[in-house]
Symmetry: D2
Subunit: 256 residues, 4 copies
């Protein structure tokens, strides 16, 4: 990575004690936050990591990492969490340069994870049958500066099928993923994988049985529990707060 800002790049404006804000390094005033405006024209060609005054506080302008890109996406209860995103990428076999698809788009949080992981040479097609979700996801992905890696498609893949092919991976963040497994298998390259994310045991059970009956191999199902550790003056202990459940992950691979 270049250590200076190029015009048009996405930056993360890091504020003391508050979540970062995503901005463009462009000339002229741009809207930022709830009702602010900022002009980052002076940062173009300057080193990454300089202090920037904004709204009366000393901020720092950094290249966003994945955590920054996700910090402005509003999270609903069903959103794939960072603890699940890594294992989901692993189950789905996703890496740089891959052509992947997801259904549905949701809030765009998982879309951002996928677009980040496939990198500039990869591509994500994100399907959702609900126009309003597509719009929200597109806005979030655009704010994250990843819009050129993602194609959003309004389509009910359970009813109408996945109409792109040669995919390395497909991620199904849908209530009834079993309805999509047949079309998903056709859309995958040999060796490609599908991964699903569902909250209930009932959905997981039906998904796993359906993965097997569709001939997927290496079928696996897991859940992940993440527990934070607290290091304080009184010593070290697990945090009292913990998310007891998010979703069950399942996955399988197309071989033949």
């Amino acid at each position: 990575m270049d250590d200076r800002w190029r015009e048009g790049e996405t930056g993360a404006l890091r504020r003391p004690g508050r979540p970062p804000l995503l901005v463009r390094v462009v000339r002229g005033p741009q809207p930022i936050g709830e009702e602010g405006v900022i002009d980052l024209g002076a940062e173009i060609d300057q080193p990454v990591g300089r202090s920037v005054a904004w709204s009366g506080t000393d901020c720092v302008l950094l290249r966003p990492n994945l955590s920054d890109l996700l910090s402005t996406v509003r999270r609903g209860p069903q959103i794939v969490t960072p603890k699940d995103a890594g294992p989901l990428l692993f189950l789905a076999g996703i890496g740089p340069g891959h052509r992947v698809a997801e259904a549905g788009s949701g809030s765009g949080a998982l879309t951002i994870v996928l677009a980040y992981a496939v990198g500039p040479s990869g591509h994500v097609t994100s399907f959702d049958r609900r126009a309003e979700f597509l719009a929200a996801a597109r806005a979030n992905v655009t704010r994250a500066g990843l819009a050129d890696r993602v194609t959003f498609r309004e389509r009910d893949v359970a009813a109408d099928g996945i109409d792109v092919g040669e995919l390395a991976s497909i991620v199904l963040d849908l209530p009834e993923p079993w309805e999509v497994l047949a079309t998903a298998k056709r859309a995958l390259v040999p060796g490609g994988s599908v991964a699903t994310y569902t909250p209930t045991y009932n959905q997981l059970e039906r998904t796993v049985r359906s993965l097997r009956s569709h001939g997927f191999e290496d079928v696996r199902a897991v859940e992940l529990l993440e527990r934070a550790l607290h290091v304080g003056d009184g010593g070290t202990r697990p945090e009292f707060d913990m998310l007891g459940h998010t979703g069950f992950l399942a996955g399988g691979r197309k071989v033949a």
Copy 2:
């Protein structure tokens, strides 16, 4: 990804009921497995995913995913597991195109994860002060076809420092990561992150306190528990077998 084999690519030879073997798609006989030989010259320019007869069984030649690349690395008890690798990448803020470093090289398993995640446009420098570990790690990374993304360096970074700079991320898989945090901070770009992986709470506590005293921000510590689910004729339940602990993850970000 191209759907046909190019000469020199790494493939995964998938055998029925056994772990896959990594091979090169090259002309002429190459050693494979414990004592076998295979010639994959006929696959060059052919579609990925064809059946290949070997050792009396019907195999399939696939593009390896990360799981395939890791399957031939012997795992010791201290090796970063897939469940931890994703969160470690997240904590360390690693993505395609990044320049990253790790210490130590270990078996090369984590090196493979990092090299996979940064993609062909990224680079990994892997430090270890023990020549025999470097040799083993290099062999594993080479077998995975990722050697051109990795530089192995015999160096005691705790004593002699990290002598590459402008790194986006540094992963410390060492018993005493606190000894490396000062040099790690200097080697990171602004916004870059360090992540550590240690088995005991004592190491975790000292690491977290040291991250704070070195001025890292967003200091976090977590552990992950992965539980597999069993879907059988009698119903669905968590698996009885579970790994109760691997390592604690900690991370922090260089801002100023």
Copy 3:
């Protein structure tokens, strides 16, 4: 158990949609709840489980189970939870008829658990060096109808020792249990056990090393995670809310 109320027994007044209230089955008005009054004289010699009108609602008067007895104790963050109480009894080898001790008394919640478990033929001595905690614990134990099984003692056992002997079990719910292990060992019968409950790894480590150095055998340390399951119209899943940590349990047995 007799199926009719005897005069003076403790009952649980079960209210629709609210926690139960503990009451005495006695003649004449008694205070109940925040500002109410009830007269249960008519229930004497009547069967357990009848409807009782109170405060405009239909209540049921039941024999309290352990959950009822604990429901009116205010819980602080350090209080032993039901999930830990059972394993703590198991580690400490507590059963009906046992003479046991605890330090400190805390809110009296654990005292109630111990008094319940040893039954009417057992006895609990509860030590605390803070008079105000003793008073609160005594009030809670009295409300639970278990005061005749418990002796409260204002005493700093770390400084002044445990001055009762022939104990089957000792439970230490103190920040520095290692300071009490020498006197605890002397107070135990051969085969008796001590159990501790501490929130941090640091305390646990020091406790376990101290148990060993004092010659306790069968030294064990565990933590318990309890996760509730949600069975709803949409299926069954683990609850999203979960307590990530309460305390670490440790225990050892005096043999020689």
Copy 4:
């Protein structure tokens, strides 16, 4: 507890580095272990906790705690574990002096836990429809010295109902607990509770729905994860080995 052995009591012969053996403190030789014999007549009226030579080693004769009583019961995969026994007692509201029932008897391990918890003034009726399980459970309970608190009954309670009444608690360790809930409810006193233990979510779901439809209140379902902690020279960490699942617990209370 008396600090001297009374004739006929059950003792635990603690051997160095091996599980304890349960014995009777009686005059004359008795069989012990795989093929040994011991005469403990000399211990009668002597203090608990003396050294006893047996089989060439120095043993100690102690009053058995619950862990000793369970140590000689062979454990199958479906047996209620100590971590689950405490919460099961809590869910089922079991305490000293209670009349309780269980179905089925299994190996007798849970029967021992129940008989221990209700004490000498309580009683357990243990139902099983399989004569060979009853015989094994009876042998284990007898070896634990608790036979006088337990009545074993060969009976298929799903088909023929529970024919004892006025029970404080019923524990169902059966594959299809929902078949027993109607008769269980009739057999409980008002305020009594039923608790179940089943390995799959499918069983749990059906049990919980059935508890609700039979009018049980306070219906709850939980699972417990127990993780041991390792305190060694290198520091403290969770143990690598862990049991990932045993069974789901569910429970409900009869109010009306």
